[in-house]
């Protein structure tokens, strides 16, 4: 296989708070290839945003390495790094906070174009701004350019924020919960647009979400990584992960997704977890972090060893569940 565009190797990231070290990410191994869609799914606080920021180059791992096309990011010279930075863009969750309220849309889009001399003169600057706004379906562009962010709707702002990321022609866009604060009725439109842009420019997209249904829709041709308490618990092609989930946590998530058909949703059996409390990051359970909640808990195994990611005969995707890897099936835990 070709060298991935970006690879995280054994990434560990911790934050200090009140002299307590909080491990936010542990043993993250992840690769994003050219023109690929990777979805990172997990509940809030599981480290998916931090992973996204490390991918976008806005945060550095405490240990481990980030490889860009096979070369470690830290070894790039300063000039190369600033160029590199432009290849990785981020689209934030909150469209109300991600655009500076003091600038018009024209200004917001022209700053990067001017700064990096991506346009030669004023006429081409204006043409480029129109092109970008047309690309993100904000038409007619003439109605938008002179507006301030507060005069646009949430969906329109999110499109502007995507257009801003596109100004520097990135190779990868991290969409951090990019549609979770947008009205449900226009979510699909924005997702479709992201798909088209990926096809047109050959970019990769790292799509971070807490909504498995969205991930399923968006990344059907790509891969999904499920995160729990700072670790990846399952990663593989989307149809494999969604169609035949291996890790108990993924199963629980899937069982909780409501379907559009109310009959199916009513007949669905939600998985009974042993506990609804998510452990704190300051006190991550020993062994598999999911074991206090896991209905398939195996004493002595799950609470002892940290499981490693590996595929099995039935599951082509990689997952981190020792009993399933060893036995090939899971037995409900009897109290």
């Amino acid at each position: 296989m070709s060298t991935p565009l970006l690879e995280l190797r054994d990434v560990y990231r911790s934050f200090e708070k009140d002299r307590v070290t909080i491990p936010v990410l542990q043993d993250i191994n992840l690769a994003v290839h050219e023109n690929e869609i990777l979805c990172i799914v997990g509940e809030s606080g599981c480290g998916k945003t931090t992973t996204g920021k490390i991918i976008a180059g806005l945060n550095d791992p405490s240990s481990g390495s980030v490889l860009i096309r096979g070369r470690e990011r830290a070894t790039f010279t300063k000039e190369e790094q600033s160029k590199l930075r432009r290849e990785f863009q981020i689209v934030h969750q909150d469209p109300f906070a991600s655009l500076n309220p003091a600038h018009t849309i024209e200004q917001i889009l022209s700053f990067p174009l001017k700064r990096h001399k991506l346009v030669s003169d004023r006429a081409s600057l204006r043409r480029r701004i129109w092109e970008l706004l047309t690309l993100v379906d904000l038409t007619p562009p003439g109605d938008i350019v002179n507006k301030y962010p507060h005069q646009l709707s949430g969906g329109q702002r999110q499109r502007v924020s995507i257009a801003r990321a596109l100004t520097v022609q990135p190779r990868l866009i991290v969409a951090d919960e990019a549609v979770s604060m947008v009205d449900v009725s226009i979510r699909v439109g924005i997702l479709k647009m992201l798909h088209q842009l990926r096809a047109e420019f050959g970019m990769s997209i790292v799509f971070i979400t807490h909504d498995l249904a969205l991930a399923k829709y968006f990344a059907w041709e790509g891969r999904i990584a499920v995160m729990y308490l700072g670790r990846i618990v399952e990663i593989g092609r989307t149809p494999d992960v969604i169609g035949n989930p291996a890790h108990p946590y993924t199963r629980a998530l899937l069982a909780a997704v409501p379907e559009a058909d109310p009959d199916i949703t009513r007949r669905k059996q939600p998985m009974r977890l042993r506990s609804d409390d998510i452990p704190k990051l300051t006190a991550i359970p020993r062994g598999c972090a999911f074991h206090p909640r896991c209905p398939f808990f195996v004493p002595g195994t799950c609470d002892h060893d940290v499981p490693t990611l590996a595929p099995s005969a039935e599951h082509p995707q990689e997952f981190a569940c020792t009993p399933l890897q060893q036995e090939g099936s899971l037995q409900p835990y009897a109290t």
Partner: protein
Amino acid sequence: MNLFATVASPTGLALGVVVGIVPLVLSAYYRQWRAGLLGALACIMAGFGCGLIGGLPMMVVACAVVISYAYVNRQDPFTSRAALSEVSFEETRREAFMRWMANLGTNVRAGLNALMRNKSGFIGFCGIMFFVIVTVFGPLFIEYEGRARLDRRQPGARSLLAGPSSEHPLGLDWQGRDVLSHMVYGGQRLILTSLAAGLFATILAVVLGSAAALLGRYVDSLITTIANFILTIPSFPLLLVIASIIKFDDSFALALLFAALNWPVLMRAVRAQVLSLRERDYVEAAIALDLGLWHIISREVFPNMISYIAVNYIFTVRVAMYSIVGLVFLGLVPLVEPDWGVMIFMGRQQGVLANPLAAGMLLSPVVAIALFQLSLVLFTRSLEEVFNPRLRSGL
């Protein structure tokens, strides 16, 4: 050398008239008489008040406003509803210049509209303009009476205090001089010194506050410690002590001393603002777009603080004015006439604080200072609307 001297001379007037002709001619060309006349007036005032420094920018702004009126219905392809395939953004240099001017004019007009939308803010603005106009133009019409009519040391001398009369609308002071002339000439120094003191304090606060917030670590703790140290000292008594030791001939030095003692409060506020603003998503986006530190400070963080800084600048000017008047009243600054503060000081010195005939001499500067302060406070209401695009667009 008085750094704050204004031109306020026939030369300035001539200069104002000359630069005022440009917007007038332009308005004749575009048939926008009203804007042109107001623009010419503004040019004359600015040229008269601040010479070339005021006249030339005012000319550009006035021309821009005239052009913006003329261009109001002209369609710019950039804001048209046409499709991308059917528009052309090519334009000659002249067209680009005119569009730039029209844009500037539109922004100036939006700012002025915002200024006028808030009633109390507009009253404050008018109050400030009143004092500025009286201070700048008054000397043209009223002669300064600096010499006493009667030397008190001569035998047979008596107080020459007098109440208002038709000849002297504000009465005469204890030396028999016209109070009105002192009012007209006496504000300039006080107002300019206060404005400068506020400016220095604000610049110090913004620079140190931003540095503390952005550089963090040792710089932050050093600046914050110094600020806390200065905050614990009551600044006005310290100002008194320093002023009684050092002789402040120069209002520039006085303004600097005031700034040195009064930056900490605003510095802490600026630091807190920058700390909060730098964590915003749009700053992170600017980092990802590699727009550079200077861009982030000047274009992402600063525009969101400007209304806050402007309002605080006005409040600092207010405090500075009271402090300076206080120093003068206590006689701790070399007394230079004409000055509103000195008028009050003289009243105290001569023991006429309770003399009804001294009402004109004492109340005039007190009322003027109080009204100027009130105007400043009211004006801050409008500043918020001028600098905040959300309020400016009237949404």
